[in-house]
């Protein structure tokens, strides 16, 4: 029996973006075909080549949290479309189709849960929601998660997967960079850990704010992590970029990551890190 055919998923709303059983998926790394239930069972990591495919937010939560412990928060927050933005499409329509495509209400899903017994506030980005772009709602949800962590004295884990700040909310989105970063200062002053997990892709204003401010920064293998995207740089300098530029391994070499951790080891790595940074964490938020 595959995990998703269980009567009740640990999160409840996971069904929307998983592949149906009995289909084949083509690996973006080696091009091999993978049976969908194997692909989902391995949290979208190719068993053959190790390629880490983009993971939907609710599956990320399932990967990282103990079964049945996740309590989603602030999922009712919605954008007001402050600029009445319209390009080739209305922003409002883009939001609606993003919701349909992703099965999430915004680009980040936040909530409380337990990770190997440790209470945490977890924020997981959903790339299928407008490229995981950070607008006012995403910023507010993360800040609330950070404030909850300060309030109840537990760590914050944010798993980034984002194209950056959301253009359709203009400067409001830009300011979310400062808003989230400022709120992490509060967490730091409380002596509580922030673990930042960078997954493919993490770019722009998301990288240049909370994502680079982890006490410990972990990346998944071969993730694109950058401020300016490779295309922008190529257009600016009129050169093609070297192989592996701005990938996790490149960032580790240059001193901007603590470690590269495969998806399968992410939960155990994070929870053991929390243990080492847990001085300010009270008994009730520790494994019993």
């Amino acid at each position: 029996m595959s995990w998703f055919s269980r009567g009740k998923s640990p999160i409840g709303k996971i069904g929307k973006r998983i592949f149906p059983e009995g289909v084949f998926i083509k690996c973006e790394g080696c091009g091999d075909t993978i049976y969908s239930s194997d692909f989902e069972k391995d949290f979208r990591v190719c068993a053959k080549c190790g390629k880490h495919h983009v993971l939907p937010a609710y599956r990320r939560i399932e990967l990282l949290l103990d079964e049945g412990t996740f309590e989603e928060k602030d999922e009712n927050l919605q954008s007001t479309d402050p600029l009445k933005f319209r390009d080739t499409k209305k922003y409002r329509d883009r939001l609606k189709s993003a919701e349909r495509a992703s099965g999430t209400s915004e680009a980040v899903v936040c909530g409380s849960g337990k990770m190997n017994g440790w209470a945490v506030e977890l924020c997981a980005f959903e790339f299928a929601f407008m490229g995981g772009s950070m607008g006012s709602v995403a910023g507010e949800k993360m800040v609330r998660a950070i404030e909850r962590a300060v309030e109840r004295k537990c760590p914050v884990v944010i798993v980034a997967c984002s194209g950056g700040a959301r253009m359709q909310e203009g400067t409001n989105s830009l300011m979310q960079m400062a808003k989230t970063s400022a709120s992490l200062a509060l967490l730091g002053e409380a002596g509580l850990p922030f673990i930042s997990v960078l997954t493919h892709p993490t770019t722009g204003g998301v990288t240049a704010s909370f994502a680079m401010l982890g006490d410990v920064i972990i990346a998944e293998p071969e993730a694109l992590i950058c401020f300016a995207g490779p295309r922008v740089i190529e257009q600016t300098i009129r050169q093609t970029l070297p192989e592996g530029f701005q990938r996790s391994e490149f960032l580790l070499d240059h001193g901007f990551l603590d470690m590269i951790t495969p998806r399968a080891e992410l939960k155990s790595t994070i929870s053991s890190l929390i243990k080492h940074m847990s001085t300010a964490i009270p008994l009730e938020n520790r494994p019993s």
Partner: protein, 318 residues
Amino acid sequence: MAESFLEFEKKIIEMEKKLEELRALGKQGDADFSSEVKKMQKKIGRLRHDTFKGLSRWEKTQMARHPARPYAYDYISEMLSDFVEIHGDRCFGDGPSIVGGFASLDDKPVLVIGQQKGRDTKEKMYRNFGMAHPEGYRKALRMMRLAEKFKTPIITLLDTPGAYPGIGAEERGQAEAIARSLIEMASFKVPIICVVIGEGGSGGALALGVGNRILMMEYAVYSVISPEGCAAILWKDQSKITEAAEALSLTSEDLLKQGLIDEVVKEPLGGAHRSPKETAHILRRVIRRHLAELTEMTPEELKVDRRAKFRQMGPFTQ
């Protein structure tokens, strides 16, 4: 008079030239042109008024980038005295797209940091067109730490197309440099006043923009992305720049309406470049006023105030 001008300034400039010619003729003394001169002056005044009243957001963006617009150094020399520039991030380089140092405002110490575009070709290259590398941001942060140590108010002048998108910048952690600046600026206990004097280019500008007061010059813009970048990505059409600028609501007036800035600093009619000195003096008066308010606050209050300011940014419903 400015040598370089924008398309919508052209008519005004042409008429001003004619006016000069008329005056010169008048001085030669053969005929009396004084009534023509007066008429011309009136006409120019009206044209200037009409032109600048109705600028589109894209035209205002061009004003923000005007080649003759005063840059950080121009404001520093006109607003402040005893400026002592300091250099280097103590790590890799100087990052000359950002300048700064100690100065006095009315004989009181301030620390001033500005993003500096170049005036001539050589300086443009040297300043990398105002697009900072990580060392520029790290130098700025080092300066701000000094201000914190000596309890000196900080003034930042924002004017950049954006943080530089290049290989070296990425290798040396452009994202980390900006992020670090954001979190530390949110934690300092001295007054911080940020002024967008020209182009507030996304994260590259915001990195110096976490203040107790955020001001914008009238013809400054502040945006998550340039109209050009937005047109290319969302419209997939480079020619939709005007539409993108409209959609982005990036002018000082727009940002005041959105509650993201505290005040718009009026520029002389025709823009700051028409009268850089006067503009700097106007800004100095505004900074004085805000600084007087902020120096009433305790160090802890200043930090809390700054965090609270950013805490409420960005609307949503629930």
